[in-house]
Symmetry: C2
């Protein structure tokens, strides 16, 4: 419960008090990072906290049958087709493994505090304002990023989503407790806009000295599974010339991906690998790596992956190994609503910047006018405990989001 923070004290103190409530939930004592996977105990505690926040403010709570939660300031039923529709804001609770504190939760906390600001200023909603907590944004448990918003927007088949499994074999349907409802055009059709506030995942705001920015676009990006197969054999007794070692082809490909990305001003990462049998004294039979690649233009991304395939295939021939490349996901570029973005940048006198990270806002942008606000991250580090945001900048983010909601939804 949050009774102390709804009304009293300077905003920066209220932000800190609220933030301190969440800080211990799911924090790993070893790394200092967070393990807040969807529907695991820490994320369930955060969902309970969300319900408490809504109740403390007298906000109606709705769910969409996909695991996404919504808390409403104003009656969501009034956002019918004849009106301008509701304005949604919010983000997600789940984290990558050992991720930072701000990625996701900052957008939800800021949404509640922004509504407090508006109420304290005597404003009322001219159209409903919803606070959203989307589930499985990072894809950290079931492997598909933005799973909750994709289901909500009809961008993924609910049966496919239901069958996704975590590392222990639990399905998304089992974790959710039901077959996901899938697309909710009834809810989506009542939305007039979505504004997501997020910690910046780079140093652009730090470099220009601004606490808050407005997103202009999301880079296209994709994930490719690289399956290298060779022949398991004894590490000690097998002559070097007789080996078919897929670890060599993998290692070459990791370095080539880095080089091809640098050549093109793109980003490429191999951050996940699986080895069979993964024994010190055995040449592997199989090495699987996952490539994450992103670029400002989709053509650049296509060229990068094509060049990498060619080089890796050449190396595989030399190593006597085989390579299969499977595209696991491909996300086209997202241009956020130009009018809305320009309006918010003017309103906030904030710089506009692109991002290379996927977000639920990228999914919703295909359906409703969508914008994102970023809060300065002095380290520029993301998906790591070193992710950071100052309390004063977080308070500035709350004020900016309140200004945006006042402009778009209040009277």
């Amino acid at each position: 419960m949050l009774s102390h923070s709804v009304e009293e004290g300077p905003l920066v103190n209220r932000f800190r008090a609220c933030w301190d409530e969440l800080a211990p939930v799911g924090r790993d004592a070893g790394s200092g990072g967070y393990l807040r996977y969807a529907f695991t105990p820490p994320e369930l505690r955060l969902r309970d906290w969300f319900r408490d926040q809504a109740a403390a403010r007298g906000m109606a709570l709705t769910e969409d049958g996909n695991g996404n939660l919504f808390a409403w300031w104003g009656d969501p039923g009034t956002g019918d087709a004849g009106s301008d529709g509701a304005i949604l804001t919010g983000s997600h609770f789940d984290s990558v493994p050992h991720g930072g504190a701000y990625d996701g939760p900052l957008g939800i906390v800021s949404a509640f505090l922004a509504i407090d600001e508006l109420r304290a200023a005597g404003m009322a909603p001219a159209r409903p304002v919803g606070v959203a907590a989307f589930v499985e944004e990072e894809g950290g448990r079931f492997g598909v990023p933005c799973l909750g918003s994709r289901l909500f927007a009809g961008a993924i088949d609910p049966d496919r989503a239901a069958a996704l499994t975590d590392a222990a074999g639990t399905t998304f349907a089992a974790a959710l407790g039901r077959r996901p409802a899938g697309a909710r055009p009834d809810l989506l059709g009542n939305l007039g806009g979505y504004v997501e506030l997020h910690v910046e995942q780079g140093r652009a705001l730090a470099e220009v000295g601004a606490p808050v920015g407005v997103a202009s676009a999301i880079w296209p990006h994709g994930r490719w599974r690289l399956e290298f197969t060779g022949e398991a054999n004894h590490a000690g007794t097998t002559r070097m010339a007789d080996r078919r070692d897929p670890m060599l082809t993998y290692a070459f490909t990791v370095l080539a991906a880095n080089k091809e990305a640098r050549l093109r001003g793109a980003h490429a990462t191999v951050g996940r690998v699986r080895v069979e049998p993964n024994a010190t004294n055995a040449i592997p039979s199989r090495v699987t790596g996952w490539l994450d690649a992103r670029a400002a233009e989709p053509e650049t991304l296509t060229e990068l992956v094509a060049a990498l395939r060619t080089k890796a295939a050449e190396r595989a021939r030399r190593d006597g190994t085989e390579l299969v490349v499977v595209e696991e996901s491909a996300t086209p570029p997202v241009a956020f609503d130009t009018d809305l973005g320009a309006r918010l940048a003017r309103l906030l006198a904030a710089p506009a910047l692109p991002t290379a990270a996927g977000h639920d806002a990228g999914v919703l942008a295909g359906h409703v006018p969508t914008a994102m606000l970023f809060v300065r991250n002095p380290t520029g580090v993301s998906h790591s405990p070193a992710e950071a945001a100052g309390d004063a900048d977080c308070a500035a983010g709350v004020r900016a989001l309140a200004e945006v909601l006042a402009e778009l939804a209040c009277r």
Copy 2:
């Protein structure tokens, strides 16, 4: 029980009947390889089988308090300091992950069948003949190869061995059911020799067309843990120039290890890796690789590792990462007993060849005259389901071992 195979039929059929009893134990239906880790249910079944084999032959069973089993033809108590001591033969039951059928069990099966041959020929032991099943030879569960023979020979501190853990955190002491007894000079002092029969882990015998060979030496070898640390960060948003990605330093080092080994006629492998956090959209904070390196001369091995350290450290500076190299094990070269080896090679008219694999025989060679026999492996593949040995060659191995035991221990 093995009543049918003790007495009847041609040796090749008796070998096959005995082999078929073991074939299903611990075989993974997917890979066709074996998961026979020390003290897991498949290995416990093989230990029961060992006890049954001893009982069926009226052989006394002894244990050494370290997990090693011995079955005796002749009274082991007669091998006192005043006599020539007992002759030990045997091998191990445990496998690497998804290893082959022959590596280990062939030596134990061949030992029992060789004793059957000698008995059928009316021979009797002039000195006790022991069949040994050493535990955890591969180090596949607790990480230290030849753990059972090292304990038996006093080559590892029993408290250190007791505290070794498997992937689930179970200690060796818990798996064994007691603190290991450690060095058994009382037993070791009663041994007059050790002869281990093993499937060849290469193609030397296939190339010279011989079914059986005699080992001349074991190459020196070692394991080094390579710990690469960098900075976890978002795979999408972090500029390439801002990264400190330990996967790049790891990949470079894998390729450099291969190159440095080829330059020196040595063997180097990185077959095991662990990544943190191991997520597709996160630059890793840490990548740990394990280097297995072997060479004919210890100086070559030292040079190889030194050259690799230098190159990897240079690359780490470029990548903004850090590298720590920890020597996990170092095994000096083993020259088997020259007289015994030459005597057996003459006796069997078999070629002599070195091996780059570690064996319990390598541990015992420091204490008693030791020799190894190899059985031809037509694929040359080892530590893999593709490991092979023909039934006729296995029968030739049994006959060769019987000849050796007749020469060394019978009247």
